[in-house]
């Protein structure tokens, strides 16, 4: 298991300022099964970090912990220095961690715009009383946010702009993924978590997706991102650094080239060499 170089820095009292997010011995077990075991990792500002590992290695579980859906049995995790341990999911979201889901979770009956606007709703000021009595204020808020959403749509797929009022169920898979990413991004999160965004896509669609992610990175001064992926081409092309998990433990870390040569990782994916 690798050592965590920045932990040394912390012990020495040097607080690194380039980390937006880090975890400290994060663990969780379900009944007797240890799903995530003492994971230490960190994400720097503007970095795209890849998270790989065979099925069942705890990647999505890790996401669930750091978004507050699961409570870890051990360890802690920090966003910009604040501990998020024990905080409910909606607080963590408001602090700035946004995510997409492995199985695309869109509200299919609601309009595309509705699905995306929820990503920024918590910044809005017009609530109960304003909705009833001060409609103008609500109206200007809605119009403003809608513009932002449409701008995001233009980056991904101009057609989304025209069909923004239609139910999300009418979209093909790749557009649903895009909408989900827009939803996560609309709130300008500090940390973006993408869970297998290219699953179910063909190579052309994956190319488009990577292009779009790079565009967003460029447009928004680089949102720090952790991306879970099974497709190594995607990982290789987008990420600067990769962490590999197996059976809930971190087994390798480094650039994609370095990690892909790691013997333990190969064994995890391909089995022992006979």
């Amino acid at each position: 298991m690798d050592t965590n170089p920045s932990a040394a820095g912390e012990i020495l009292g040097l607080v690194p300022v380039d980390r937006v997010f880090w975890t400290d011995n994060l663990s969780i077990s379900f009944g007797g099964l240890v799903a995530v075991e003492r994971v230490n990792m960190q994400v720097s500002y503007g970095e795209i970090l890849g998270l790989i590992g065979p099925n069942g290695s705890g990647k999505t579980t890790f996401f669930n912990i750091i978004t507050g859906l699961y409570t870890p049995s051990e360890g802690d995790f920090f966003l910009e220095g604040d501990s998020l341990l024990g905080k409910p999911p909606h607080m963590i979201a408001r602090k700035g961690i946004a995510r997409t889901f492995q199985m695309s979770r869109l509200c299919l009956d609601l309009s595309i715009l509705d699905n995306v606007l929820i990503g920024i709703h918590y910044r809005q000021k017009s609530w109960l009383l304003d909705s009833i009595l001060r409609r103008r204020r609500l109206a200007s808020e809605v119009a403003g946010v809608r513009e932002k959403a449409l701008q995001l749509f233009r980056v991904f797929n101009k057609e989304l702009v025209d069909h923004a009022g239609e139910p999300a169920g009418s979209l093909p898979l790749i557009d649903r993924r895009r909408v989900e990413i827009c939803r996560a991004m609309l709130g300008e999160p500090k940390l973006l978590l993408l869970d297998e965004p290219s699953a179910g896509m063909n190579p052309e669609e994956k190319e488009e997706l990577m292009k779009d992610i790079r565009t967003i990175q460029g447009a928004s001064n680089g949102i720090s991102t952790i991306i879970i992926e099974h497709d190594m081409a995607v990982i290789k092309s987008i990420t600067e650094r990769v962490i590999a998990l197996n059976y809930g433990c971190r087994i390798a870390e480094g650039t994609f080239d370095k990690v892909s040569r790691d013997p333990e990782l190969r064994e995890a994916y391909l089995g022992k060499q006979v």
Partner: protein, 308 residues
Amino acid sequence: MSALEVLAQQVINGLMLGMMYSIVGVGFTLYFGVLDIINFSHGEFYMLGAFIALILNSIAGAAGWSVSPIFMLIYIFLGSMILTGAVGVVTQRLCVRPVSKAPMLISLLVTLGLGIAIREAVRIFYPRGADPKHFPTFLPTDSFKLGHVIIRYDSLIIFGMGVVSIVLTSLVINRTKIGSAIRAVAQDGEAAMMMGVDLDRTVDITFFIGSVLAAVAGIMNGLYYRTIMFNMGGMAGVIGFSAAVMGGLGNVYGAIVGGMLFGLLETFCAAVLPFGAENKRVFAFLVVILFMTFKPTGILGEKVYERV
């Protein structure tokens, strides 16, 4: 009467009540397990079973039978079981199957509507249906005493019937081929289908068993209280549902535990608490609410993690 005897008396009464609730609860839990639906017409089948038994009895009377009470008992039980079971299967195919894929709320309301229809049909079409009906007495009416504790003979017999029904149901579910089919579908309907289980037939049989159980409980109720009314199904349904949920929806043993619990709660609250008699149901429902809040999976249920 010593305290122990008072306690024993309450326990016996509570268990009697609980037995009937348990049987209704088992039906609820079976429906939930197999089809993921809350079948709110179940209580009305309880009532229907009792009324069909009454009708069968009247037919026998009109035809001038004079046979032993045991024979009559077997006749009305079997007859009602088969007929109620049949009605259950038919209504399931007509009303429940079409909405089995819809959200649970829809099936809840559909079965509620079905229940209303059954109840009203009985009230309208049974002669003077709105009046309480006398249920024939086939069981010995006397009782014996253990110290100061009164035990009715018919209670014992009814309790025994209940035990037999539950044991039989458990045997069917755990030891027969159709039972494994039911359990398989309850775990994962699609996988069961792929393994060759006939889903439609399994659901039909589940509803048959559930309706039969309801009928048995209804007749037991009639034998115990010796009166039945067209609206006896409403409360029985709600209590049966509570029993199933308290014990853990989908778990047959849970329903039994839940039913007994509810019966004991009612009896004890009536006896022990001040203002207990009128409010016994209130306390029992309060316990149900507390259960739902703090242990929604029920006594015997398992914790389920939602897949994110």
